[in-house]
Amino acid sequence: MAKIVGILNTSHVPAIGKAIHQNLQQDPYWKPFFDGFPPIRAWLDRVKPDIVVSCFNDHGLNFFLDKQPTFAIGAAPEYRSEDEGWGIPTMPSFPGAEDLSWHIRDRLIRDEFDMVTCQEMLVDHAFTLPMALLWPEQKWPVRSVPVCVNTVLFPLPSARRCYKLGEAIGRAIAAFPEDAKVLVIGSGGLSHQLEGERAGFINKEFDLKFMDSMVNDPQWATQFSDVDLVEQAGNEGVELLSWLIARGTVAGAVKVVHSNFHIPISNTAAATMLLEPV
C-alpha cells in the first residue's frame, strides 16, 4: 500500500532558478537559503521516496484566464518545463506517476472535488524549483503527480477548502494498492507581495506562527479568508495554500525533520520545512 513518508514545504521564487543556473548556492546572499537543503537531501538518501505529489500554483504557464481552474491534477506520462517568460532555464522533463494520478483523480471526483484533469500539463517554477532543490543533479529518481491550485484569480479556494482537498488526497494515497513511498510537496509563500504601494511587504511574525501551526495546530490558517491572507501575508503570500493542501494529506501528528527560514530571498520570506508523520 502507498504511504506518505514526508511533507516538504518550501518557498519558490523565479530568482532561485537563476541562482541555480549561475551556481550561486555559496554566494553570501543565497547561502542562507540553499543551506536549508543538504539535511533534506540526507533524509531523501535515507528514505528514498518513489513518488512525489506536488501541490503548487501555476503562474500563467499551463493555464490562462480563458480556462482558469480552481484545482487541477495532472494525469500524464510526463511533465515538461518550458519557457515561462521569466528567464528561468528549463529542466529535464519529469516522469508522471500515472497510476497514482488517475487513482487520486477518480477519488477526488467521487469526494466532490471538481478537479480539472490534465492529460498534458506544462509545469512552471513552482513545480520545478522544489524538485531541483531536492535533486540538484536534475536526474529525477521519482515519478510525479502535480496538483495545481488557483492563486491567480480571486476569490481563491478558501484555506479550509484547500485543507480538505489535502485530506481527500491523503485518503486516496492511503487507498492506493501499490507499494510506494510518497513525498508530498507544498510549494509557495511565505509572506511576500510584489504589487501595489505595499510592495515588499513581509510579515515575519505571521510566517513563524504559520510554520509553527504546521506541527502544533495544522488547521490554524483555515480561519483566514483569501483577503485575510493577503492582509497577513501579502498578495503572493496566499501561495501558502499549497502548504495547507500538503499538510492536509497527513491526518495525524507530524514532527519537524528540518526547518529553515530566511528573509529576504528576492522579495520573499523564504521558508523550508520537512515534516514526517509520527
Binding site: P14, W86, E197, G200, N235
Partner: protein
C-alpha cells in the same frame, strides 16, 4: 456594470478579482503571450503595434509604454502576468519593480526587505 458591492480592501494591496480580470483581460492575454520568445521579440520591435494587436485600450497602452506599473495594475493587470513583461521582456528584477511602485530607490527597497527579517 452594476454598482459594485462594497468590497473589502487592503490599503496598498490591490486584489486581482473579477472586476480586475474583466477589465484587464486583453492586457493579461498580451502578457501571457510573453511565454514565447518570438512574441517577446515582436513586442520589443514595436510595442505600440503589439498592444494594438491585443486590443489594449489607450490607458493600458500608455501605461505599458511608460512602464507605469501601478497604472497597469489599476487597469486590470495581474501580477503573475505583468511579471512576464517586467522580468522576461524588460529585464527588471522584483526589486526594480518594487522600487518603481513604492517611489523608493532600489537600494532603499532592498534595505526595507532586509529590515523585515530583523
Amino acid at each position: 456594470m452594476t454598482a459594485r458591492q462594497q468590497k473589502r480592501t487592503i490599503p496598498g494591496a490591490p486584489i486581482f478579482d473579477s472586476d480586475a480580470a474583466r477589465e484587464g483581460y486583453a492586457l493579461n492575454k498580451m502578457c501571457y503571450s510573453f511565454n514565447s520568445k518570438a512574441n517577446r521579440d515582436a513586442f520589443v520591435s514595436d510595442e505600440r503595434a503589439y498592444c494594438q494587436q491585443f486590443g489594449l485600450n489607450q490607458e493600458q497602452t500608455r501605461a505599458i509604454l511608460e512602464r507605469d506599473v501601478l497604472s497597469l495594475i489599476r487597469a486590470g493587470g495581474g501580477v503573475y502576468f505583468l511579471g512576464k513583461l517586467a522580468g522576461g521582456v524588460l529585464g527588471l528584477d522584483m526589486q526594480d519593480i518594487g522600487a518603481l511602485q513604492t517611489g523608493m530607490s532600489k537600494e532603499e527597497f532592498k534595505a526595507k526587505l532586509v529590515a523585515a527579517g530583523k
